[in-house]
Structure formats: structure tokens, C-alpha cells
């Protein structure tokens, strides 16, 4: 952090930047404040209002979501949180473990079928999921992974891999090859050099890629609702979606649930962004 003193910034410029940021933050948070007001209000105000207001403040909706129990009295909300976190974290770990070597290979090696593979990876993102959902269901049934969290992790990780590979490939390309070469001159094998030298240098990119995989798995609804058939296996989005029925919609509980769902993601992002800053100041990337 000793860089900060070096750069001289006029107070005017600092004020302007902060002003821009405050405006951006206000615009960003504005719709979210509506969601929060909805979750905390006992009744909705039928007036057009410029700013969200809480009408008859209540924590009832939060209690309703958090207090979800099943017929036998097991505390379901805790299970859903655990399921969601476990599935999303496992997705991030599995996705990264599979994508890191592949991204590295694409960045450093030339091999038969590389161009076709990259094109196929890109192509896989172009087909709308709406058409491949039912075949996926049959596939997981054949694998015996229906109604399991592992099956869900497999699906999420596989769908997260293409983007992760592209992202990591770009990150590895930004790392000078001299780094590994130096290590190999010192007697390390290519794989050792990859593990010991390249991976630590790519830590910020790996963290962000992992975060992306985590987020997409954590917020996903359609696959989870289709593939999971037991209440104690549900992830949070599936459980939340049940507050929205055909005629009968409990938006305040839905909003309260959404806020509860987002809290861990915000916490995680906070951790990862510190990691990013650490990566920067440690100068790992610069080598």
C-alpha cells in the first residue's frame, strides 16, 4: 500500500471521483432498496412513491423464510443454506480444478484439435438451455445422479467450465513464459513448474473465475428445480420460488428470501476482492 503516497491527486479530483462513485452506488442500490422495503413492510403502499418506504415495519417475512420446517420438524432453511453453499462451493472447486489445466494447455501448448476444441467450447454457450433441459434430465437418470447434489454439481461445473477456461487462458497468457522456463532450468518438470510457479501467479484470476462459477451455481433455479426431487436437497432458489404460486404470490417473503440469499455472496465477494488487492500489491503477476 506504500504506492498510495507516491501518486499525487488533487483534492478536487478525489472529490469528483468520489462523487461519481456515490451517484453510481445510489443508482445501483435504488431498486434493491425497493426489495428491502417490500421485505420489511407488513402491507404495500399503493401510492406512487419516489423513495421506498417501509409500511408497518415487520420482520415477519424473514421469520417465515428462516423458520421453514418440514412435516417432521427438521429445520429446512438451514439445510437449504448448507445445500446451496455446498453445491456452489463444490461447483467452483470442481470447475476450477478441471478448467485450470485446460486453460493452461490452451495458453501454452499447441496440439491437434486445439482450434476445433476452442470453437466447440464457444459453441456450447450458444445453445439455449431451454432445449437441452429434458435430455439432461434423462442423462442424470441414466447416471443415477437424479435427486442428488452431486448430479447438480456435475451439471453446474460442466456448464461453468467453458467460460472458466476462456478466462483462465487469458490470465495464463498474461503471465510471462520465462517464469516457468526459469523454474524448469532449475530442474522442475513442466507440471511442477505449472503447480508451483504459474498457479500462484494466476491466483487473482483463479479467484475471480471461481467466484463466477460459485455465483452462477448459487443463483440457478431451473436446473435445480428440475433435477432435485426432495425437499431436504433443495437449494435456496428452488425453495424461494415456492413462494410464488399460480394465483397466490407471497412477494414480501420472496423478497426477504432474496435478501437472505444474497448475503453470503456479498460476504464472499468482499473476501475475494481483498484477495485481488493482495494479488496486486504482492506483485505476483509482475513476476
Amino acid at each position: 500500500m506504500n504506492h498510495e503516497g507516491k501518486e499525487r491527486v488533487s483534492w478536487l479530483e478525489a472529490a469528483l471521483t468520489n462523487l461519481v462513485m456515490v451517484v453510481a452506488v445510489a443508482l445501483t442500490l435504488y431498486p434493491v432498496l425497493w426489495v428491502i422495503a417490500l421485505a420489511l413492510s407488513k402491507s404495500q403502499s399503493p401510492e406512487p412513491r419516489l423513495f421506498p418506504v417501509i409500511v408497518d415495519r415487520t420482520t415477519l417475512h424473514f421469520e417465515e423464510v428462516i423458520g421453514s420446517h418440514d412435516a417432521s420438524g427438521a429445520w429446512l432453511f438451514a439445510r437449504w443454506v448448507l445445500n446451496s453453499l455446498a453445491v456452489a462451493a463444490a461447483t467452483a472447486v470442481v470447475g476450477i480444478v478441471l478448467a485450470v489445466p485446460a486453460g493452461y494447455a490452451l495458453a501454452r501448448f499447441d496440439f491437434v484439435g486445439k482450434a476445433a476444441g476452442v470453437r466447440a467450447l464457444l459453441a456450447s454457450q450458444m445453445f439455449p438451455t431451454v432445449a437441452s433441459l429434458i435430455p439432461l434430465f434423462f442423462l442424470l437418470h441414466a447416471l443415477g445422479l437424479l435427486n442428488t447434489r452431486s448430479g447438480l454439481v456435475l451439471c453446474y461445473a460442466a456448464t461453468a467450465i467453458p467460460f472458466a477456461i476462456f478466462q483462465l487462458r487469458a490470465a495464463f497468457e498474461a503471465i510471462p513464459p520465462d517464469l516457468e522456463e526459469a523454474a524448469m532450468v532449475d530442474g522442475a518438470t513442466r507440471f511442477q513448474a505449472f503447480l508451483r510457479v504459474v498457479l500462484p501467479a494466476a491466483r487473482p484470476a483463479i479467484a475471480v473465475t471461481g467466484l463466477f462459477a460459485f455465483m452462477s451455481a448459487y443463483n440457478e433455479f431451473i436446473l435445480a428445480a428440475t433435477l432435485l426431487g426432495r425437499e431436504d436437497m433443495f437449494t435456496l432458489p428452488v425453495a424461494l420460488q415456492r413462494y410464488v404460486g399460480e394465483h397466490d404470490q407471497n412477494w414480501p417473503a420472496f423478497a426477504a428470501g432474496a435478501i437472505l440469499v444474497s448475503a453470503p455472496v456479498m460476504a464472499l465477494f468482499y473476501l475475494v476482492q481483498r484477495h485481488l488487492v493482495a494479488g496486486l500489491t504482492a506483485g505476483a503477476v509482475k513476476g
Partner: protein, 745 residues
């Protein structure tokens, strides 16, 4: 560090393999439903008091219920019995999901005539009717002095004239389900006797004119959804409301003084409104029907004591006619009476095809976009279009021949390549890289490509699931010829494609511009509150988008949205009156609302990518540029941008692809309004799969076209780039990622 990782992995493995179900001696009965709240707890109590076998009730989200049932039951993975609205029975029967009720129906039990008729198909009873739901009239006793004798009598029944800003009568005027009741009073129905579109002709037009007059007189809010009807009625801003039993459960503990009564006649129509009656039905799957204990459970759940319990606790109207109404519950009495004047929702699969055209026409006519006559005849055309018979089955021979030829050509190509002199050497050199990519390749091939190819294959078939027939390329011909209509008519492939392209380009531009701007500001070392800003700015990305999309939709509501409050405030400021904008009545404003929502949702992603990319730009480079006297713009465009480009390119290209297929925002914010004009290709595909009679073949054909378009569009710029580089004489362009680099350029 390493130890931490190991602990994390071990915990994850433990959590994933942890299975709470232990082997039981007797196989439990599986019961699926979409109930919640009081209805759910009554069901669970009833299930708990059943002593035949252990029962596993499962509450599923309503949205996923049908799709899940259709996928799971044929695989033997579904429930033994399930509770769903009766109108899907015929569809389920066609797919072999339901079995005749047999002795699951308690012998000697008497059911209300419409309820029993609703579950009877071709003379056989396919389920136990549990409860029935329809719309009725709510009124606030503090505002209304007596029960009105007709719709025209509402005003006279008030205690005092309503203050300005209040409505006489609130209901979901733009919903076809609610309008069906009024349509019934005028002697028409959504679906005619012979499965033809019924909401057309002078009677249907008169029903819309009737509503238009009420809206014009300020008696009915012009676009209220269920939540708004509840809010208006609850806060006393509406004296009357037409709603179902769910409004009563929303009013629950609040001390709103209200009563419920049968919808009175509409004098102008000459009859009472005829709301649609939905019968909650307990159906048995073939597997469940074969087990005596499951039928016993069905009898238990359909028994008189169960019905009484349901009435007492959940206050739902029982479908049994031999159950006495609790005398002290005027609500149940009114709904029970109303059911006598209700029309059971038709079970014909054609019914499901009426909703979309009827609702579009209703919205268009009520927003003043077309006369009722014009809107309704367009709706009929749309209905007929969806209902037209599938193309004739085609011979699969051309497919087999083409596939065989392609395989041969591919094999030949491979053979020719492998003959090349250095091929063996290259292949040997590739073995090491293959080890790096092997796991990812296997996972992606299995879980991404296999389902994708199978899904694409469906595009060659047509008809309903269960009776699919191979039709060759007929689906594609249909789509590309705009189903015989004008090529640039609303809903035609080409017009939707143009909208999709505009949608993608605008979104990506704003995502990149805002994301890069804020990202580069955040990366400045001078930022004091950087941590706070960063976390605050990713909030749109962290909150599930189906919730925030709905919050945005609420802000654009013409009468109650924050945007209207903003225009009002601006008007007050400058002393002028600004008419509230009907955001979803015009293409430009509806499209703008969609784009605003998606830009808001998407910029944090680009911002995070920018921040991550900037961490790899060595500070020395930037400092050197500054010393050289470069201005800030020059530094950004000449130094920073080229350095972060490699990281931004894949994100931009994939972001463009994802935006092209961004279904949630379009579906939740504008819902295609006005009149399907803001739909993009993927939401069209979705409509064919889920609201237009499950024409999966058609939806799959859309998906394949989207795929082909995207592969074409993402390669086009790289082809141009290649030609340009060839013209300049620069050879050996890297082939690997040119598609990506070109696509983002």
C-alpha cells in the same frame, strides 16, 4: 493454506455424500403438491395421521411442477400421487402420467357436479376432487353500505362517494383468467364448444368495451396485478375487488372489515359473471394406482373429515357436496355459492393455447393500442396459428443419407489429415497437452454436448410429447417463412431477430462502457472507500435476478411506479403536468425498460472483470506513460485498454452470447409487451415450449436457429479480420481464438 483447502474439500465431500434418508422396511408413498401456507400444513397434518404407510410429501415450486412431473413419471422416478389443478388432466392422460382413480374415490361420497365433471374424461374418473377455487366479489363493509344487486349498482351501494385516488372496483383487468368471468356474463367463453377460439365476435367486444368504460371513468385501475389488487383493497383504496380465496388468506390477520358475495349480474350484459372454476385434484400415477395403500391414502385425503379439516383451517371450499359448511364462515358460504355460477375450466389441451393470444389482445385493447374488434380477430388468428395441425410426417431417408454422407466426409477428412507427413509427430507432441485437457473435455462432452445434440435432434420432430412424429426440416421451413404470414409481421422470426440484435448490441455497449468506467475508477489507488464501493456496486449481480427484475417492473408501473413518482416530482418542480407514461404500451419505452434493467443487472460483471484485468497491468507502465505526458484519455486508450483487452475479450464475447439468450429479464419485465414486440428469440422459443401447447419440436428448431445465428455472427468479424490481414500481407494469423477476438472487436 494447503491444510485449509483440504479441510474445505473434506467438508464438501462429506456434505455432498451425506444422505438423510435411511433404508426403510416399507417403501414410502411419495406425494407431490404445490401448496404452501395453511393448505400445506393441513395436508401435512392429514398425511401424518395416515397409518397405512410412511408418506413423503414434497412441496414443489409451481413453475417447475408440470415439467418435472412430465419428466419424472415416465422414468419411474415420480410420485405415487400428486395434487394439481384439474385442467392439466387431459394433457397428463395423453402422456400416460395419470391412471383411473378406481376405488381411490371413496364409495358413496358425493361431489359437486362441476367438480366431478372436471375430473371425468371420456366417462372415466381420473382423480379425487379435493377443493374448488374461483373468483368472487369482495367488498369493504366500512365503505360499502349494502350488497349491490348488480355491477351497475356498485356506486349506489357505497356509504359515501370515494375520495379521489380511490377506485370503486379493483381486479386484474389485464388477466385473461379474470376477464373470462366478465366474458361469461356477456355469453361468451375463452374456448368455444368445438375447441375453437371463443373470445371473438360482438359479445367478446362488448365485454372489453364494458371494461374500457370502467377504466375511462376511473372506477377500475388500468393495469393491476394480484399484489396491487391486494394492496388497494387492503388499504381501503378500492371498495370492491374481484379475487379468489387467496385474497382472504392475504388479508388474514389484518383487521380489514370485508365480506365476500357472489358476483352480481352485469345489467349491460344481461347475466352474471361466470368465473372459471379450478378443481384441485388428487391424481394417481400408474405406479401409485397399482398399490392398494396409495389408493387408501387417496381415500383418506379425500374423506369427509379431511374436507372439513381443510375448510376449517385453510378455508378452502370443498369439492364434496356432502360436507356441511361451517355456519360461522360467510366467506366459505359465498365461495360455495359462487361455484354454482362458475364454469369448470375446460380440460381440452386447446384451452392452454387460449391464454397467450387472449391476454395479448386484452392488454392491447385496454391500453388503446387497437380496437377490441381488431385485437380480438388478431388473437383468433394467433390461436389458429398455434393450433394448426403439425406438418405431415416425413420420410427419414434423406436424414439417414445426409448423416451417412457427413460421417463419410468427416472420416475422409480425418484420414487425409492423418496421412500428412508431420501428423504423427504432432499427435505425439499433443499427448502431454491432452492430459491437461482430458478431464474438462470428458465433463463438457458428457454434460453439455450430449444433451445439446439430443435437444437439437428434437427440432426434426413435431406434435405433442407422446405423439411426436419425424417431420424433417418442416419446423425450420415454417419459422423461416414466418408461418406463411408477412415476413416482418409481429412475432415473425425476422422481426424478432432484429429486436434481439438491437437488444444485444445496446446491452453490451452499456455493460462495457459502465463496467470499464467504474472498474477503472475503482482500481485507482486514491480511492478511499474502495472496499465499500466495490461491494455496493456488485449488489445487482449478487441478488437473484428474478427478484430484482420484478422490482424494476414495479418501478415502471404506470399508476404506482417510482418512475411515475419521478415524473410527478419533475412536473411539480417545473410547474407542469406530465402525463404518466404507460411504459409497456409502446415498443420504445418497453424496450428501454428491458434494456435499463439488464444494463443494471449486467454492468457489475464487466466491472469485476475489468478490476481483475487491471490488477495484471504493471503500475510501472502506467506511471511511465504519465511521465511521458500522456493525458488520462490517451493513457486509457493507448496503454491500459490494449493491456486489459485479452482479459476483456472472452468476457465480452460470452457476455454478448448470454445477452442474446437472456430470457429472464425480457420475460419478467416487459413480458413481451406490447403485443409480443419486445420478445427476443429465446423468449419466443420458451413460449413455444411452454405456453403454446408444448410444441417442443418448434422450440428446439428456434434453439438450433439461435445456435446457427450465433456461430455465424461470432465468426463473421474474424473472417473480415482475416481477409484484412491477408490483404496487408500478414500471414499466419493465430487460429485458436480469432473468433473471440473478432467477435468483440
Amino acid at each position: 493454506m494447503l491444510r485449509g483447502w483440504r479441510a474445505l474439500v473434506a467438508t464438501l465431500v462429506a456434505l455432498l455424500t451425506l444422505s438423510p434418508a435411511t433404508a426403510r422396511a416399507e417403501e414410502p408413498i411419495r406425494l407431490w403438491h404445490a401448496y404452501r401456507g395453511a393448505e400445506r400444513s393441513v395436508l401435512e397434518t392429514l398425511v401424518a395421521s395416515f397409518d397405512g404407510a410412511p408418506v413423503e410429501p414434497l412441496a414443489l415450486p409451481y413453475d417447475a411442477f408440470a415439467a418435472k412431473l412430465q419428466a419424472a413419471v415416465p422414468l419411474g422416478d415420480g410420485p405415487d400421487l400428486f395434487i394439481d389443478a384439474h385442467e392439466r388432466l387431459a394433457d397428463y392422460l395423453g402422456r400416460g402420467i395419470v391412471a383411473p382413480a378406481g376405488d381411490a374415490l371413496e364409495p358413496g361420497a358425493r361431489f359437486s357436479a362441476p367438480a366431478l365433471a372436471a375430473v371425468t374424461l371420456g366417462g372415466t374418473v381420473y382423480g379425487v376432487p379435493l377443493s374448488q377455487k374461483c373468483l368472487a366479489l369482495y367488498y369493504r363493509t366500512d365503505l360499502v353500505a349494502r350488497e349491490p344487486t348488480s355491477f351497475e349498482d356498485f356506486d349506489a351501494a357505497l356509504r359515501a362517494p370515494l375520495p379521489p385516488g380511490s377506485y370503486l372496483f379493483a381486479y386484474e383487468s389485464r388477466s385473461a383468467y379474470a376477464h373470462a368471468a366478465i366474458l361469461g356474463a356477456f355469453g361468451a367463453a375463452l374456448l368455444g364448444e368445438g375447441d375453437e377460439f371463443g373470445m371473438v365476435g360482438p359479445k367478446a367486444e362488448a365485454s372489453i368495451d364494458f371494461v374500457l368504460a370502467l377504466i375511462a371513468a376511473g372506477k377500475v385501475p388500468e393495469s393491476a396485478d394480484g399484489a396491487l389488487v391486494t394492496a388497494l383493497f387492503k388499504s381501503g383504496k378500492a371498495a370492491f375487488a374481484m379475487s379468489g380465496p387467496w385474497l382472504a388468506s392475504d388479508l388474514g390477520e389484518s383487521n380489514v372489515p370485508y365480506r365476500v358475495m357472489v358476483l352480481p349480474p352485469i345489467v349491460a350484459a344481461g347475466d352474471r359473471p361466470r368465473p372459471l372454476l379450478t378443481v384441485e385434484t388428487l391424481s394417481l400415477t400408474p405406479r401409485g394406482a397399482a398399490r392398494a395403500v396409495v389408493r387408501k391414502l387417496a381415500r383418506h385425503l379425500g374423506s369427509r373429515t379431511a374436507a372439513e379439516e381443510r375448510m376449517r383451517i385453510a378455508r378452502t371450499v370443498s369439492a364434496r357436496s356432502d360436507v356441511e359448511l361451517p355456519p360461522d364462515d360467510p366467506l366459505l358460504g359465498a365461495f360455495h355459492e359462487q361455484a354454482r355460477f362458475a364454469v369448470p375450466m375446460p380440460t381440452s389441451p386447446a384451452m392452454r393455447a387460449t391464454w397467450e393470444p387472449a391476454e395479448k389482445a386484452l392488454r392491447k385493447a385496454l391500453a388503446g393500442g387497437a380496437t377490441p374488434g381488431a385485437a380480438l380477430s388478431e388473437a383468433k388468428r394467433r390461436f389458429d396459428d398455434v393450433r394448426r395441425p403439425p406438418p405431415p410426417p416425413a420420410s427419414p431417408t434423406p436424414l439417414v443419407v445426409v448423416t451417412a454422407l457427413l460421417c463419410l466426409a468427416g472420416a475422409f477428412q480425418l484420414l487425409r489429415k492423418s496421412r500428412a507427413a508431420d501428423f504423427r509427430a504432432r499427435l505425439r507432441a499433443s499427448l502431454n497437452p491432452y492430459a491437461y485437457v482430458a478431464l474438462a473435455t470428458i465433463a463438457v462432452t458428457l454434460v453439455v454436448f450430449l444433451p445439446l445434440i439430443a435437444g437439437a435432434g428434437v427440432s426434426l420432430f413435431a406434435g405433442q410429447p407422446g405423439s411426436l412424429s419425424y417431420v424433417g426440416l418442416a419446423n425450420f421451413v415454417d419459422i423461416l417463412s414466418a408461418r406463411g404470414g408477412p415476413l416482418f409481421d409481429t412475432g415473425s422470426f425476422y422481426l424478432v431477430l432484429l429486436v434481439t440484435l438491437a437488444w444485444t448490441v445496446l446491452n453490451i455497449f452499456f455493460h462495457l462502457a459502465i463496467g470499464m468506467f467504474l472498474g477503472s475508477l475503482l482500481a485507482r489507488p486514491s480511492m478511499r472507500l474502495r472496499g465499500f464501493y466495490r461491494v455496493a456496486l456488485i449488489v445487482p449481480w449478487a441478488v437473484p435476478n428474478y427478484v430484482t427484475a420484478l422490482a424494476w417492473k414495479g418501478m415502471f408501473h404506470r399508476q404506482f411506479g417510482a418512475m411515475t413518482a419521478l415524473t410527478n416530482a419533475l412536473g411539480d418542480l417545473f410547474g407542469v403536468t406530465i402525463e404518466p407514461i404507460a411504459w409497456f404500451a409502446h415498443f420504445s419505452t418497453a424496450f428501454g425498460a428491458n434494456v435499463a434493467t439488464n444494463v443494471w443487472l449486467g454492468f457489475p460483471f464487466m466491472m469485476v472483470v475489468t478490476v481483475a484485468a487491471l490488477t495484471s497491468v504493471p503500475r510501472e507502465v502506467l506511471e511511465a506513460a504519465e511521465v511521458d505526458g500522456a493525458t488520462r484519455w490517451q493513457r486509457f486508450f493507448r496503454v491500459t485498454l490494449p493491456m486489459i483487452r485479452p482479459s476483456l475479450l472472452p468476457a465480452t464475447l460470452l457476455g454478448a452470447i448470454w445477452t442474446f439468450n437472456m430470457f429472464n429479464v425480457v420475460f419478467l419485465v416487459s413480458g413481451g409487451d406490447p403485443d409480443g414486440k419486445t420478445d427476443i428469440l429465446v423468449s419466443e422459443a420458451y413460449r413455444w415450449a411452454f405456453t403454446r401447447q408444448a410444441q417442443y419440436g418448434y422450440a428446439a428448431a428456434y434453439a438450433v436457429l439461435i445456435f446457427l445465428l450465433l456461430s455465424g455472427l461470432t465468426r463473421l468479424p474474424s473472417l473480415i479480420a482475416r481477409r484484412r490481414s491477408r490483404d496487408r500481407g500478414a500471414g499466419g494469423a493465430p487460429i485458436a481464438f480469432e473468433a473471440a477476438e473478432g467477435g468483440a472487436a
